[in-house]
Symmetry: C2
Subunit: 325 residues, 2 copies
Amino acid sequence: MADVAVLDRVTLESGATLAPVEVAYTDVGPRAAPVVYILHALTGDAEAVDWWETLVGPGRAVDTDRFRVICANLLGGCRGTTGPSSIDPATGEPYGLGFPLVSVRDLVTVHRALLAQLGVARVHALVGGSLGGMQALQWALDFPDEVERAALICASARLNAQNIAFTKVAREAIMQRGGMDVARMMAHVTYLSVEGMQIKFSRLRRDDARPMSFESDFEVEHYLDHQARVFLERFDPLTYVYLSRAMDYFDPFAAHSGTPSTRFLLVSFDSDWRFGSEHSVAIERELRARSAAVERHEVRSPWGHDSFLLDVPEYHRHVRELLSA
Amino acid sequence: MADVAVLDRVTLESGATLAPVEVAYTDVGPRAAPVVYILHALTGDAEAVDWWETLVGPGRAVDTDRFRVICANLLGGCRGTTGPSSIDPATGEPYGLGFPLVSVRDLVTVHRALLAQLGVARVHALVGGSLGGMQALQWALDFPDEVERAALICASARLNAQNIAFTKVAREAIMQRGGMDVARMMAHVTYLSVEGMQIKFSRLRRDDARPMSFESDFEVEHYLDHQARVFLERFDPLTYVYLSRAMDYFDPFAAHSGTPSTRFLLVSFDSDWRFGSEHSVAIERELRARSAAVERHEVRSPWGHDSFLLDVPEYHRHVRELLSA
């Protein structure tokens, strides 16, 4: 179970303020050990040992026997941290679309305020996948002295037009039609690769003898139905809208020219077409142009963007080495 | 303007019948010239010289000075041919979802009935892109004696799991939410390539000084808004649902083992990720296994699946050669 910290007041990049901000977080491992701070992606929560069990836990690459591991639900989230589904104290009603827009930098502001409350001034490492890696990058560029190492897994420093187009379509589905199921289904298509979907589903049907119909008939359709259903039970569509919009505008190198002292690890997956290797290559290029210490690995995996949540030993080894070296 | 032929009765593969079926078609070029029959894709119509003006017209690869060129709106369509938006004579109301499901073979049945009315027993060539190519393939496999040559541009003989997943999401948007705009936007993302979108839009914004918002701000968002808006003015969402479902189930080689006498041309585009070269390679493999005459070309173009509608000279040359040789 996550704990909840309360920040009296948070001022956002836009100038808007939120007061108070509750932050749901988990804090496991030896108190005195070096801190590894986990940053979750669009739909995660504070329970990193659950949703990232392949990477985080006793004996894992992010070893909770050796490191103090902290993870917080993001600002704008719906899993314990203040977000659009929280009650606005000014009205007694949920914020809804009255919640201010948040940037990736705002997410980092809240993480840092939490760590200040916990008495942590510097982390051994930040570890994040996708939007999690984007937060790690923003943090390391803004406050390199606080971040010794940073592992950015299938992250991006700048969404391309296709990425923005996909978030646009999802936002359109959610805001104009209440179509979170549609948005979630589409997201799953972008999280998996062509190859991975073919391995999992091919053209398998529930019943080959059944005539053509508009009902879900192919296995891949049942998968999407299922994913949308379980997601709707636990997630606020507006969190999706707010956090994906933060990604659209993310462009941290535009405002940074100095050399960050953080050591960076970049990992991408060869079948990922949401934030494929070209995104990590672009981050590497920007970091090298600033003389930062960076190593980058493209890892073979058929599972597309989802690979960062799965058991892919080569990628886990790179993270383990970053934390140990 | 298209003419309209009336077929008294059409029996579908499922056993369902439609009576009557109106077929909107165009018929241009010299009456006595060899016939080139154009097969349109998901959202086309009978006016091939309009929507395929890069390929079809006087002096073009499909030269209307040299060929008699016929094109019909598809069964299930909404541009003059009987489809779900047509009036069901049994009820006096539009068919809507009471319209029977149609297969690619059913589309071909209607094309052949139209040609019989026009007194055409054999065509010089079938030419189709995407779903158009799928109809050409079905026709040539079922009735090779009627089809001397067939040009299949970025076609598929079998959708993969990702393809089916995308049509599922679009159908979900349309049938559960009335979200044709969402479906259309998503389709446009799949018609363009990463590279093509980057060339067209990059991360350009209407106003760089404007603060973050949920309004369309990036140029790619305006493009998608515009495409959805113009599409909704001219198209019936149920046609999209019916014709895309025909594509999901399409698998013509499963029922064919003989050698088709038709000469096939296959063209794919290197940046197409909807029906990329792997789909054309699979068609070629199946045709060669049946000892058919087939040539295949992958053409360089940054514009993804949309390339088949655009001015790509190398691909047009291949079509011209097929028709002339």
